[in-house]
Subunit: 108 residues, 2 copies
């Protein structure tokens, strides 16, 4: 991946309304995940949040985990350990994910 392509992925230019459309999450949820330290948008001059495509992908990953009953602090801990396996995780189906990482509460 070239520097230019990397910039497209990581440059924070998307407003919360569009992130909401892209992820299907409510603005409330998106702001809450920030409060829980799962995502870190930048701020424009006058305070509006700006997200990158990577943030959008992280949010979709979070959404999947929330559906599985994972709690925010557990998601945060997983992100610390494996800061860049998001792509890997996203490509796996839920069952496989659950089995491999076992990050869900008391599953088997």
């Amino acid at each position: 991946m070239t520097d230019e392509e990397k910039t497209y992925k990581t440059k924070k230019v998307i407003t919360i309304g569009i992130v909401s459309e892209l992820t299907g999450l409510s603005e409330r949820q998106i702001r809450y995940y920030e409060e829980r330290k799962l995502i870190f948008p930048e701020r424009s001059d006058r305070g509006t949040r700006k997200y990158s495509f990577v943030d959008v992908e992280t949010l979709m990953d979070i959404a999947n985990q929330m559906e599985d009953g994972v709690r925010t602090f557990e998601i945060r801990q997983e992100m610390k350990k494996k800061p860049d396996e998001d792509k890997l995780k996203r490509s796996m189906i839920k069952g496989q994910l659950n089995a491999q990482f076992g990050i869900q509460k008391g599953l088997k």
Copy 2:
């Protein structure tokens, strides 16, 4: 370039205020270039314009040509002829660009 990377470049997710910051152009200028058929943003549900990174690059290219005195209809015609040499043109310094394409009015 993978499909995923292509999506980052072409997906229309940036609002006009941020495009303005990114390009240094006023919102007035950006809307005017649309009126002159140089860029084609999409619209969100309720009508706000949304741009891609490619649009941002096109705008920076347009800005350079405007500085050189090229007029909007001339830029539009160049874009028709060479729909994808933007990258090439952007990488050339102005003098070279002028000499090679000669699209400026009566230079020399």
